[in-house]
């Protein structure tokens, strides 16, 4: 019989963020995604003899910016090192990275009130991309194809301490990190396309035990769901191993998304013997306080600050504020709308309600549709002035998203103004009453909640244009007759 031991999960994450520069980190080859393979390469990134790397200043500035946003210390002296390994995606057989003098150290971010420490951020170059060809020809021989467009694209590697204690928290951490680098415009944060990549180290130990358990590295996590699911699987697997007399081996495991399992990768021989040494082709970096200060001045408002501002200054609920800051596109749109209206609550509701639903249904982004902050605010004003009903607005918003234009114009062209004229509405009220004698009975016998049914029917009759207050009043008057 197994004793019921409670286990504690210990997770550390390494996140690689592709930096949004126009050119690569050490040469002027372009970095654009999705171009024809091997079309964005040059002798430097292909490691031709006699070429020399020259550092892209923008990469350093972005690294410092990210470091400041993640509460890191910025190094006064920093350098690059060579990391040695042989793999066809690495034409130089070395990767220029940073070993013992990374540009940023000792940062942290807060996840639901808990501090997750960041050990370091360093700069390095990305490797090429391998395309695995299937069996070819009569021989059935398989081979790989290499595209070096990605070779030398700048990366920031952000390494957390093992402070994360659940798969869900790991997902929150990466979501927050992604949001921050997107706010900084340092990285576009696309896990599916690989501009943000994540490797996880996970181990378990009985509660109260001081020393850490043997850790396992998980790779191939290209969605938030994959990150959380793979960690959940791996924690269960490790507990099962231990409780059944097995042992955890320190290894790298690959997440198989379609099967929902992790599989042991053939251990790369001597994989951790990278023989780092200082990169002799790149001089050292000296980062003075003035430079850091200049970059600090360019720090944009970050998600946490924005959320607080929405709560304190515009009166949004904590939940609404969190939903809006979770997407930089939504937050930008909302901020622009705030400059034009005082009805923040209404703008937030439309954004989180009808607009988000429409975007989800059509798999679109806020930037893909024709709605502008101006047209949204114009529509909100029309509702607030009583010119249009909410029901009509729900139709107008779709038109604004699909075709653009002005809410005022749509109202004028289609005659959608609210009818408050009692005579006109009374006609509809009488008609609906006449057509539904059964419901009228119910109302008269005290089931006054059927009023909702009547208001709905009368709205329908007036194509959503009747003023609901007037409907209510007229209906009650009719019932009392």
């Amino acid at each position: 019989m197994t004793t019921k031991i409670k286990y504690e999960t210990v997770i550390g994450l390494e996140v690689h963020a592709q930096v949004k520069t126009k050119s690569k980190i050490f040469c002027n080859s372009a970095t654009e995604f999705g171009q024809e393979h091997n079309s964005q390469v040059c002798p430097v990134c292909l490691g031709y003899p006699g070429t020399l790397p020259v550092l892209n200043r923008k990469v350093v500035e972005y690294a410092i910016l990210a470091g400041l946003a993640l509460n890191c210390e910025i190094a006064k002296h920093s350098k690059f090192d060579r990391k040695h390994y042989f793999y066809p995606d690495l034409p130089k057989n070395i990767q220029i990275s940073q070993y013992d003098m990374p540009i940023c150290k000792n940062g942290h971010i807060m996840i639901n009130g808990k501090k997750i420490r960041i050990n370091r951020i360093h700069m390095e170059e990305d490797a090429g991309k391998l395309v695995h060809a299937g069996s070819a020809g009569i021989s059935g021989a398989s081979y790989s194809l290499v595209d070096y467009n990605r070779t030398g694209v700048p990366l920031l590697e952000i390494v957390s301490e093992a402070d994360i204690s659940s798969p869900e928290e790991a997902r929150f951490y990466v979501e927050k990190l992604r949001n921050i680098v997107k706010y900084l415009d340092v990285c576009d944060g696309n896990l599916e396309e690989g501009s943000l990549r994540c490797d996880a180290n996970v181990s378990i130990r009985p509660f109260g035990q001081k020393e850490l358990g043997t850790k396992v590295e998980i790779k191939n996590l290209n969605s938030f769901k994959a990150l959380q699911r793979s960690l959940e699987y791996e924690v269960d697997r490790q507990i099962y191993e231990i409780e059944n007399g097995g042992k955890i081996i320190q290894e790298t495991r690959l997440w198989k998304d379609d099967q929902g399992i992790t599989l042991s990768m053939r251990t790369k021989e001597e994989s951790h013997d990278y023989r780092y040494f200082p990169e002799p082709d790149l001089p050292i970096l000296e980062i003075d306080a003035e430079w850091v200060h200049k970059i600090r001045e360019t720090l944009p408002e970050l998600p946490d600050e924005k959320r607080l501002r929405y709560i304190e200054k515009t009166g949004l609920s904590e939940y609404d504020a969190s939903v809006i800051v979770d997407s930089i596109e939504t937050a930008k749109f909302f901020d622009d709308a705030l400059k034009l209206t005082n009805n923040a609550k209404s703008a937030a509701n439309w954004l989180m309600g009808d607009i988000t639903a429409y975007l989800k249904e059509n798999k679109l982004n806020l930037n893909d549709i024709k709605l502008t902050p101006e047209s949204l605010v114009e529509m909100i004003d029309l509702i607030d002035k009583g010119t249009i009903s909410n029901a009509i607005a729900k139709k107008i918003i779709v038109s604004l998203m699909e075709k653009g234009g002005s809410a005022q114009k749509i109202v004028e062209e289609q005659g959608l103004t609210v009818i408050s004229d009692e005579g006109q509405i009374l006609e509809a009220v009488k008609k609906v009453i006449k057509e539904n004698p059964g419901e009228v009975e119910k109302y008269k016998s005290g089931k006054t909640q059927v009023i909702g049914f009547f208001v709905g029917q009368i709205m329908k009759e007036t194509k959503g244009k009747a003023n609901p207050a007037v409907i209510n009043k007229l209906f009650k008057e009719e019932m009392e007759k």
């Binding site: 050119s23 550092l55 790989s144 001089p283």
Partner: protein, 92 residues
Amino acid sequence: MITVKEVEHAAKLARLELCEEEKEKYTEQFSKILDYFNQLKEVNTEDVEPMAHVFPVKNVFRDDKAEVSSIRTEILKNAPLEEDGFFKVPKI
């Protein structure tokens, strides 16, 4: 002192195949190099700042400007094997 085993390990990492004679020769040479470093270690460096680079240069940068490359065909000429504009390598 360096052992033959360590030389074999270093050779393996560098993807070098060494014959017995070479192994012995390199074991001896490596040991001599390390002895020399040990000699350097004797120097008093208490007030000397650590140095990562021999030249007194720092902060050499380029601007973030991309140039269109048109050397794809030329570069692929140097590939031992090529397919559809890719470099072709043994299966990983």
